[in-house]
């Protein structure tokens, strides 16, 4: 039985996951301190979303351990797993809103189905969550009638209404323009401080993640190549870290070389 670390809410040790012949994770580790905002960076297709789904117990890991407050989830009894799910929320990249339910019904649903609260309390808490995310004008709108940013806020309201201790964000800014991307990161950081939950964000937006998070991790070739503070990440001289971190600079250099008749560097 693993010992509970006093400051770590979530610990991941040596997680392996493969789909047929495709090895996605090969011994991935991550420490998530309580109350922190941890950004997991990585190139597209490196298994960041699969890793997050292993954390959320949606996709079972082939090997390795996911510990929540020191309790091993893979062998936990149904009560412990249900307790974990009650205390953890997951924000899908696609938002995964229930398209046949209104905004209010979407937010009410987790409370209706998992708590014994009275109907009046459920309504009050749902309205409060929607008000905090500035959606009180859209209580009876369906997700398809809302903009992308509003859908993201609605998904966040639904995730926060159960007052979770851990929120897992799967690429919350995918497909958004830079202004909306900043707004989403700002929103996450603001509510993380306001509600005090622990957050793990999977993203490939380096600058925004470094600005908003307390810790940064870099997933590369199925392993966590780097874990540290944003300052340590910024100062790292590791080739993989610099390659990812300074990708915008590298793009500028490559384009300048192309303009002067040179050839593009090959990807190794």
């Amino acid at each position: 039985m693993a010992e509970a670390h006093p400051t770590l809410l979530l610990q991941v040790k040596g997680v392996h996951k493969r789909f047929g012949e495709n090895i996605v994770l090969s011994g991935t580790d991550l420490d998530v301190p309580r109350g922190s905002l941890v950004a997991v960076l990585g190139r597209s297709g490196t298994g960041k979303s699969v890793f997050l789904k292993c954390l959320a117990d949606i996709v079972p890991a082939d090997e390795g351990q996911v510990l929540f407050e020191g309790k091993l989830l893979s062998v936990a009894d149904p009560v412990t797993r249900a307790e974990f799910r009650r205390r953890c929320s997951f924000l899908f990249q696609s938002n995964a809103l229930f398209d046949s339910l209104t905004a209010l019904e979407n937010v009410r649903l987790p409370l209706e189905q998992t708590s014994d609260a009275a109907d009046s309390e459920i309504q009050e808490r749902s309205l409060e969550a929607l008000r905090q995310l500035e959606l009180e004008q859209h209580l009876h709108s369906y997700p398809s009638q809302m903009s992308g940013g509003m859908q993201k806020r609605l998904a966040l309201a639904r995730a926060l209404v159960t007052r979770p201790e851990l929120v897992l964000f799967d690429e919350p800014t995918a497909g958004l323009d830079p202004l909306r991307r900043n707004a989403v990161f700002l929103m996450i950081a603001k509510y993380q401080r306001q509600f005090g939950f622990t957050a793990v964000i999977v993203t490939h937006d380096v600058q925004e993640a470094m600005a908003a998070s307390d810790r940064v991790a870099l997933l590369d070739q199925g392993r966590m190549h780097f874990q540290g503070t944003p300052a340590e990440f910024a100062q790292s001289t590791d080739a993989v870290v610099t390659g990812f971190r300074d990708s915008a600079v590298a793009l500028g250099t490559a384009l300048a070389s192309l303009r002067h008749g040179g050839s593009l560097p090959t990807e190794d």
Binding site: I58, R85, F90, A96, L97, D99, L109
Partner: protein, 258 residues
């Protein structure tokens, strides 16, 4: 050849076992399900009220055709007065439950499989599970309970409208006295026939809705097609297999009850 046959048999047995477990777990989920009644009512509305037009139209035409065909067959033997018995027994014992179930599979079953398939693809089912909500209890259980209640009601309606259709054919078009028709109906149909009708309807409802839910819920397991094609393939498979299942179950129940 033997290997292929063996593999096919194993796949079939595995599929049947998986389907049986899916159905059992869905019923088991009643225990932890919250606010179930409201969702049963909603499922009942989807399977019942929305399917009313097709049940009424098909029921009426089935009765009209049975009346016409029955009259010309009975006329050869000088037994036109038995038209009510022929129409009512055909509808109550066989055509009512089978045709109503096939209509419901075509309308409600296909919609159900497609809706669940889309919910699976858009991660709505995964979202339920991350919230700690039992997705079977939330999505499947109310629909199974509603099917057991709604299919017999729809079948009763189908049979009633069909009897009126037979009466229209017999009395308005072919000149049989309405009293003769309806007294033949009354004499022919015994309570055992009505029981058989309801047993069949409830069984067909349970089996077909469970099968449509099974295919929609497990859309992601289809390795040959994904996305919109996966949903389309699941829906087609759900409708085809449910239709076959209705006829196969009809044979089994009839041979057991007769």
């Amino acid at each position: 050849m033997v290997r292929i046959l063996g593999n096919q048999t194993l796949t079939l047995v595995h599929g049947l076992g998986d389907f049986a477990l899916f159905t059992l777990r869905s019923f088991q989920a009643v225990l932890g399900s919250r606010r179930l009644f409201r969702r049963i009512v909603r499922a009942g509305f989807e399977q019942g009220v929305r399917c009313l037009p097709v049940i009424l139209i098909v029921g009426m035409f089935t009765g009209l055709v049975l009346g016409l065909q029955g009259y010309y067959v009975l006329n050869r033997f000088g037994s036109e007065s038995l038209l009510g018995a022929l129409v009512s027994l055909s509808l109550v014992r066989e055509l009512g439950p089978v045709l109503a179930a096939l209509m419901l599979v075509g309308q409600a079953g296909s919609a159900l499989a497609a809706e669940l398939g889309i919910q699976r693809n858009s991660e709505q089912i995964a979202a339920l599970e991350t919230m700690g909500v039992n997705s079977l209890g939330y999505l499947i259980t109310p629909r199974l309970i509603a099917a057991v209640l709604v299919y017999p009601m729809q079948t009763a309606l189908f049979v009633t409208v069909g009897l009126w259709g037979g009466s229209l054919s017999g009395s308005l078009l072919l000149g049989i006295q309405p009293g003769v028709y309806w007294s033949a109906v009354e004499r022919a149909v015994a309570s055992q026939d009505v029981n058989e009708c309801f047993i069949k309807a409830a069984t067909f409802g349970l089996l077909t809705v469970a099968l449509c839910c099974y295919h929609g819920f497990n859309t992601h397991r289809n390795r040959r097609a994904s996305g919109a094609r996966g949903v389309s393939a699941s829906t087609t498979r759900a409708v085809v297999q449910s239709s076959i299942l209705v006829l196969a179950a009809d044979y089994v129940i009839t041979s057991y009850l007769v």
